[in-house]
């Protein structure tokens, strides 16, 4: 690494991280390759596909359009921080599993982050509001339909209107 590196400090999923970066390194590459958080994916590197979406101080941001140095002092949340525990998924993740909200899974981390932001501010989003948020993401596999359904189901579960888990048959 050249002499022109900068030191930057920010919180990732609750942990304070310090890292030396080149000024041109974007946040997505920093998370993935400097900090090993490879759950954040990179699909276009020009801010359209949304796969790299993370939450910066609670607001969704394209990690490919933000320099790592701009994250100084920020609180970053990524997909790795969503699950409640090693055993339990978040309500949103669980709804995606139950309703087949993902296929190849490459766009999924970014989608989950944007929807996490939505559900924090709006406990009862309409389908149109969910689709509006998803318009910042490209998915080639699902046609979005089950993503929308999973987001609405997660909202219902968070409001306690449906059981937390669908309890579908997994086993014989």
């Amino acid at each position: 690494m050249s002499a022109a590196t900068r030191s930057v400090q920010f919180t990732v999923n609750g942990q304070l991280r310090s890292v030396q970066v080149e000024p041109r390194l974007n946040l997505a590459d920093c998370l993935r390759h400097s900090l090993g958080c490879t759950g954040t994916h990179v699909g276009c590197e020009h801010g359209v596909c949304g796969a790299c979406t993370v939450l910066v101080d609670g607001r969704s941001a394209r990690a490919c359009l933000m320099l790592a140095t701009q994250a100084e002092g920020c609180t970053i949340e990524t997909v790795e921080g969503l699950a409640t525990s090693a055993e339990e998924l978040s309500v949103l993740q669980q709804s995606f599993w139950d309703l087949h909200g993902l296929q190849c899974g490459f766009c999924t981390p970014g989608v989950l982050m944007s929807l996490t932001e939505l559900l924090r501010s709006n406990a009862a989003p309409s389908e149109a509001q969910v689709r509006d948020v998803l318009s910042g993401h490209l998915c080639r596999c699902t046609g979005y339909q089950n993503i929308v359904a999973a987001a609405l189901e997660a909202a219902r579960r968070m409001r306690g209107e449906t059981p937390r888990q669908a309890g579908m048959a997994v086993s014989a």
Partner: protein
């Protein structure tokens, strides 16, 4: 094991598992890791000391060069090596890629180069490879390489290249047409000469690129200790890559291993061994360091395969009732600059134009025309969507010409249920007759038209028109040959520790094939699917394989896994009978144990596997084979035909040419469904891909074949805001060609979409007399037609 035509009931399907697993909506075993961000895609893998690769790509669609100056690039700190055609050749058996699917015979001078040596033939063709300590540095170095480009005239439109005196796409070729062939049967000339109705159509289509959200990428490591090349690639065909690496690098297969990690979608773009993959492996061998290449989106636009333009000139003859008597035409197919794997796209298309219909005479003259654009191989649908566009536009045209109802014209021409299985006088690529094996096409049409209230539509349309709104209803059939053979591998293994694995050459790229194969295996072994580990796309796990394409894996890998699991099951029961001193007929297999029915007395699969692994000097029971495992490469050439019928309502804004989908109903018959939830997911995605083809996706080039749409802001993939909720209906007509009765589904959703939407848009714009002859139906194109129609109607 061959695939005879026999009723599904005759296949051995033994399972005493009370709770059937095949056919249930099991949740995917793939998902928990992917949802946690713990998937392992290509760019998530890293190796100690890895170097990052970047390719220098031609800025010209056609140019010659004689010198590449790499000195400045090599001098950049952090750059380790720069390879050109000349310097990478020592690691290769030859510089030119072999022809994929080599059963189609061509002059081998049609394939791409690993690195182009002197004449680039499309913008984006790679001429040099930089290795550096970071991707940034590698890309910096690209800007320091100097090439003495000498631009040549380029062919952008495939029809232009066929004109006399047109510039050559590649100097080495005799002509721009790669090949010409004819597909057909019956006497079109007589039918066309004597038919009561005869008309002609010109149709064209463009399908665009695949655009999985994860682009292409590969990582190679030459391991001096193991004397082995390990290759990780985001591919749909790890075994083909393994064979080709062995061939191109001159290594015996035992010194090559290919692993497909989690693959972030393929849609056809990864069902090809690319020059970049070979170059990365060769570079890793030459520099004795691991090398990783991950393309960016612009590279995917420039150098990932596409499916592009097809132009049809057609003549159609019918009788007075609208029965088709003959279809005759020509098809010009844009193949791009090279032909990596034969002419499967135009061949599939030409043999599928008669689709689900009874067509007494048919002839298509096909010209595969080269252009100075990135090569073409199949994108989701592989020629079938284009064929459906042709047949369905013909049906709508017949209705318009004869003043008949569109649904009725289709009904009169469809292959009726009582004629199934119906053999067409056409052959698939394997040389086997095309047989529509099962299904009730007219009933599918009735189901969907009832669901969408076709009968009530004229009233809805009139009411909308009274409000100044232009709504239309469209419909289309589509058939898709699936389960392309000759085989896919399936190994089921239970180890002494009790681990159950399914290994296959099938490739998982998001479809849920691991879950589906686990369901097929679990059905026989009486275990939960999450107790089965499915290894797909690792050449060390299974010796043979083909991979993921052509809606083939549920049929081919599913059948192999079914027979392998059945064999393991039978073996387990036979061994347990010896261990328990019981009759086989008194035993049952459930919850991972073989037990005497109705008792607690039993042995676990692990216990059985421990015995069957063999112990030196101790005999196994008479007639027992060693190992609780079985490997099956179930053979098939006959393709099960899945079919679908779609209907949709759209609203067109005549002021903007914008099309809004109000309702979309799709029926799919893919035979027996292993997991209806996953099939619905495949249909949603396939249909939305088709909507992209119908309304949005257009890969534009200028007249010198320079790509114009190279970002996702310019090239429009379907977005959540524009997509409808699709209503899915099923019929399940079992295929007689395989033990599971299944047909493929990956591409079926895409096939009828563009013609269904074209039909709806045309119907909505009936007051303007607009005729849809091309896809995608973009707002500017539609607006031009609306304005032209208005001008004609109201002359100045």
């Amino acid at each position: 094991m061959n695939a005879p035509l026999q009723p599904a009931a005759q296949w051995e399907r033994k399972s005493d598992n009370a709770a059937r697993i095949v056919g249930t909506r099991a949740r995917r075993i793939e998902d928990p890791a992917l949802l946690r961000g713990a998937g392992r895609y290509l760019d998530d893998l890293s190796l100690e000391g890895v170097l990052y690769a970047a390719f220098l790509r031609s800025p010209h669609a056609h140019a010659r060069f004689s010198h590449i100056d790499t000195a400045a690039a090599l001098a950049l700190p952090g750059v380790v090596a720069v390879y050109t055609a000349k310097t990478i050749l020592p690691a290769l058996s030859r510089l030119r890629m072999p022809l994929g699917f080599p059963t189609t015979q061509f002059d081998n001078a049609c394939t791409p180069w690993v690195l182009c040596p002197q004449e680039v033939c499309f913008a984006g063709e790679a001429v040099a490879l930089v290795l550096a300590h970071s991707r940034h540095l590698a890309e910096d170095a690209l800007a320091l390489i100097e090439v003495d480009w000498d631009p040549l005239p380029a062919i952008a439109d495939c029809r232009d290249g066929l004109k006399p005196g047109a510039p050559k796409v590649r100097s080495e070729t005799a002509e721009n047409a790669l090949t010409r062939f004819r597909v057909g049967y019956g006497d079109c000339d007589t039918a066309l000469a004597s038919a009561p109705h005869r008309f002609s159509l010109s149709l064209s289509q463009h399908r665009g690129a695949a655009h999985p959200m994860e682009g292409r990428g590969a990582m190679a490591r030459w391991d001096d200790t193991e004397q082995r090349l390990n290759m990780w690639s985001s591919t749909q065909m790890s075994h083909e890559l393994y064979y080709m690496l062995s061939d191109m690098l001159g290594l015996p297969e035992s010194q090559v291993r290919v692993i497909a990690p989690d693959v972030g979608g393929g849609f056809g773009s990864k069902f090809l061994v690319y020059p970049e993959e070979i170059a990365v492996a060769a570079a890793a061998r030459l520099c004795r360091r691991p090398v990783k290449w991950v393309e960016d989106r612009q590279e995917h636009f420039l150098a990932g395969i596409q499916e592009r333009d097809q132009y049809f000139e057609l003549e159609v003859a019918t009788d007075k009732e609208g029965h088709v008597l003959a279809i005759r035409g020509t098809l010009v197919h844009d193949q791009g600059a090279y032909t990596p794997q034969g002419v499967n796209c135009p061949y599939n298309c030409a043999t599928s134009v008669t689709g689900p219909y009874l067509i007494p005479a048919y002839e298509m003259q096909v010209i595969v025309a080269q252009t100075n654009k990135v090569p073409v191989i199949p994108v989701r649908g592989a020629g079938y969507p284009e064929a459906a566009f042709v047949s369905e536009r013909i049906m709508d045209r017949i209705a318009a010409e004869l003043g008949l109802d569109r649904a009725e014209v289709r009904r009169r021409n469809l292959v009726p249920a009582h004629k199934m299985p119906y053999e067409k006088p056409l052959k698939n690529r394997a040389g086997v007759g095309i047989v529509l094996d099962s299904g009730d096409y007219p009933a599918c049409q009735v189901d969907v038209l009832t669901a969408i209230d076709y009968a009530g539509f004229p009233a809805r349309q009139a009411a909308a028109l009274a409000e100044g709104r232009y709504i239309g209803l469209g419909m289309a059939h589509g058939v898709k040959g699936t389960g392309r053979g000759p085989f896919e591998s399936g190994t089921v293994r239970i180890t002494p520790s009790g681990q159950i694995t399914v290994s296959t050459g099938a490739l998982a790229m998001g479809q849920g094939i691991k879950t589906a194969l686990a369901q097929v295996c679990a059905e026989q072994l009486g275990v939960a699917i999450d107790q089965i580990q499915v290894i797909a796309g690792d050449t060390a796990a299974v010796s043979l394989g083909i991979g993921g394409a052509a809606s083939r894996q549920m049929v081919t890998a599913g059948s192999s896994v079914h027979f392998a699991a059945l064999e393991v099951r039978n073996k387990a029961i036979k061994m347990a009978a010896a261990m328990l001193e019981a009759a086989e007929a008194d035993l049952e297999l459930a919850e991972g144990r073989v037990r005497v029915t109705g008792t607690d007395r039993g042995v676990t699969l692990s216990d059985i596997a421990k015995r069957l692994r063999g112990v030196a000097g101790y005999a196994l029971p008479e007639g027992m084979d060693v190992g609780l495992e079985a490997s099956i490469n179930w053979r098939t050439d006959q393709m099960p035909y899945a079919n679908g019928f779609h209907a949709c309502e759209v609203e067109v804004d005549p002021g903007t040419g914008g099309v809004k989908i109000l309702r979309y109903v799709a029926l799919q018959d893919s035979g027996k469904l292993v997991n209806p939830t996953l099939v619905e997911g495949q249909l949603h995605g396939g249909i939305v891909h088709g909507i992209g083809n119908a309304l949005f996706e257009f890969m534009a080039f200028d007249d010198q074949a320079q790509p114009l749409t190279t970002t996702l802001a310019d090239y429009l993939l379907p977005g959540a805001g524009e997509m409808p909720n699709i209503e899915i209906l099923f019929r399940e007509s079992p295929s007689p060609y395989n033990p599971l009765g299944v047909k493929g589904v990956g591409e079926g959703g895409t096939v009828p979409v563009a013609p269904a939407i074209a039909s709806a848009v045309e119907n909505a714009l009936q007051p303007f007399g607009v005729c849809i002859t091309a896809a995608p139906i973009t707002p500017p194109a539609l607006l031009r037609q609306i304005l032209a129609a208005q001008m004609t109607a109201q002359p100045a």
